[in-house]
């Protein structure tokens, strides 16, 4: 019987010919990523278990990307970055994207592929649930806690269970204004926030093939919102070209066998999809944007690992070009590279930043996670006063972007931009048809 791409990668990492769902196997990690929220705790576990003088299993394998609480006056947050800084020095780690220096990058999940840390066929463990993003480049990538991360840091391996795979086949052409974000929100709405618990979510079909690498990342990023262990898309020419432009390291391409076994297969006709939003307080509370025009908004937020990449801002600017907005518009590029891009890419002779500024109510921040997860009270864009915020982020649980009385509505960059123009939830199509 054949194997899925996830099973093949895990078999390789476990030095086995065959693995099957349910097997508990020790796999070798290629990369361990941690950030400022979970890094200090991971280091604490690592030292407690392996001793104060212990060395990480592989210096090249550890990537440290502080991104969550960077631009804040909160002392505890600064202390945590200091802890990372000391550890990097002590261990002489080559990959540290250090706040306050030229190496600072921003959100971990956008930094990882940009800097060549994501390679097809490898295994990535990250102390962040959205580590599943990187399956978009054909690797096995999943989120773990501090204790497991401390274990990987010392040994380079982890005991994991091989997940069953659910396959999502999306074929056809997306209508105007419908994006990767709408595809994944639609899927989460259909299967529910626990619809893929413990499972791998494999995405394929002509629609996925036609998507850019960034859009594929948006889809895999939200696998965790359906409870998935990992999201994955088999690499193609686009993937290979992208990875080669970022790293010289060798990598292995896997794809699922024809006769691989799936727990379930879902088919979607892309031409029937529409712009959707996830209303408070769950990512599976999905409704068509056009049916929610009675929902009044206080702000629109474009940022995060899901919705703060270069193409998200290109989409937002394309839609906002020439328009004024009626609510506050928060712009948070995920990384320095994205920040650079929005200052240089032009539409009709204007940079994206110029287009945002001419909307009249734009607030543009430096790259970081910012208000995507609320954070300290002085965090840029945090909803401190019960605001209703339409956002390109990935979670809308109670209090996710700030106070418990605030509300987050998840949407694509197009929908967040169109809704900023009207002040209510708005289907973007009307602003895009020429």
């Amino acid at each position: 019987m054949g194997m899925t791409i996830t099973e093949k990668i895990l078999a390789k990492a476990a030095n086995k010919d065959v693995v099957k769902p349910g097997d508990n196997i020790w796999v070798n990690a290629d990369v361990l990523m941690t950030h400022d929220v979970c890094g200090p705790g991971t280091i604490g576990v690592f030292k407690r278990e392996f001793g104060n003088d212990a060395k990480v299993w592989d210096k090249e394998g550890v990537v440290i990307i502080p991104d969550h609480y960077i631009f804040t006056a909160d002392e505890m947050c600064h202390r945590n970055v200091d802890t990372l800084r000391e550890f990097v020095k002590e261990q002489n780690l080559p990959y540290f994207y250090e706040p306050g220096t030229e190496t600072y990058s921003g959100v971990c999940h956008v930094t990882l592929p940009e800097k060549g840390h994501i390679r097809p066929g490898e295994v990535l463990f990250g102390t962040d649930s959205h580590t599943c993003t990187h399956g978009a480049l054909g690797m096995f990538a999943t989120g773990i806690g501090n204790t497991d991360a401390g274990f990987v840091m010392g040994t380079g391996k982890l005991l994991i269970k091989v997940p069953q795979t659910i396959k999502f086949v999306i074929d056809g052409e997306l209508p105007t204004g419908v994006t990767a974000k709408d595809i994944i929100l639609k899927i989460i709405g259909d299967i529910g926030v626990d619809g893929a618990t413990y499972c791998a979510m494999e995405f394929s079909g002509s629609t996925i093939d036609a998507l850019s690498i960034e859009e594929r990342m948006t889809i895999c990023n939200m696998a965790i919102e359906a409870g998935g262990k990992n999201g994955i898309i088999a690499p193609d020419e686009k993937t290979i070209e992208y990875v080669k432009s970022k790293t010289d390291k060798e990598f292995t391409i896997f794809s699922s066998d024809e006769d691989a076994e799936y727990q379930a297969v879902y088919n979607y006709d892309a031409s029937k999809l529409e712009a959707v939003v996830a209303l408070p307080f769950s990512p599976d509370n999905v409704k068509a944007a056009k049916d929610c025009s009675d929902k009044k908004l206080d702000r629109s937020y474009i940022g995060s690992c899901t919705g703060g990449k270069i193409e998200d801002f290109v989409m937002a600017a394309e839609l906002l070009n020439g328009h004024k907005v009626v609510i506050d518009l928060f712009i948070v590029p995920a990384t320095r590279e994205v920040e650079e891009a929005i200052n240089t890419i032009k539409i009709d002779g204007k940079t994206l930043v110029e287009i945002f500024e001419s909307t009249g109510k734009a607030h543009i921040a430096e790259p970081s996670c910012a208000a995507c997860l609320g954070g300290p009270v002085d965090t840029f864009g945090r909803c401190n006063n019960g605001e209703v915020c339409i956002s390109t982020t990935n979670r809308n649980f109670p209090g996710r972007m700030g106070g418990l009385d605030s509300e987050t509505i998840l949407a694509s960059a197009y929908t967040a931009a169109a809704s900023a123009i009207t002040g209510v939830i708005t289907d973007p199509a009307q602003y895009l048809k020429k």
Binding site: G44, D74, S129, T147, L159, K161, G227
Partner: protein
Amino acid sequence: MAENIIKGKVFIAGDNIDTDQIIPAQYLALVPTNPEEYKKLGSYALCGLPDSYKTRYVKDNEFETEFPIIIARSNFGCGSSREHAPISLGAAGCKAVIANSFARIFFRNCISTGEVYPIEAADVLADKFNNGDEAEINLTTLTVKNVTSGEEFSIKDLGSVKEVIEAGGIFNFARKNDMI
């Protein structure tokens, strides 16, 4: 984590209790391996629950809960990978969470850290208990009794992860098996 009987008052929670409700993001700067901050994390356990929960899990100005057992519905612990979630519960004195299902990373973190027992039940036990009822979980007979009402229910076997829990977490398990 070697006890086989867990007794105490229960706290009832709903579906999809996510990690932001268990421990809101503004408290994540606390580092769990630091003993004082560990204790503090306990004081914030479940403080992100909406106001519709009339009883707070941990009272204001206290570090520990009076409810060592949480009975929730499905998908408990969904959301982020923050180990602060099971740790804040454990620090508050929670011993076990019984739910109809758990989110994967939360479940895994409970086992790797040995902070709380994540116990699955087929019946919707949140309907069979009231806040403050006395419960007794028996991990050998796989039952949970509502001492207040006298009713008894079954819970699911932990399966293959039981070995890891019994060893006391991932590090002890690996040492026992000569993996490290």
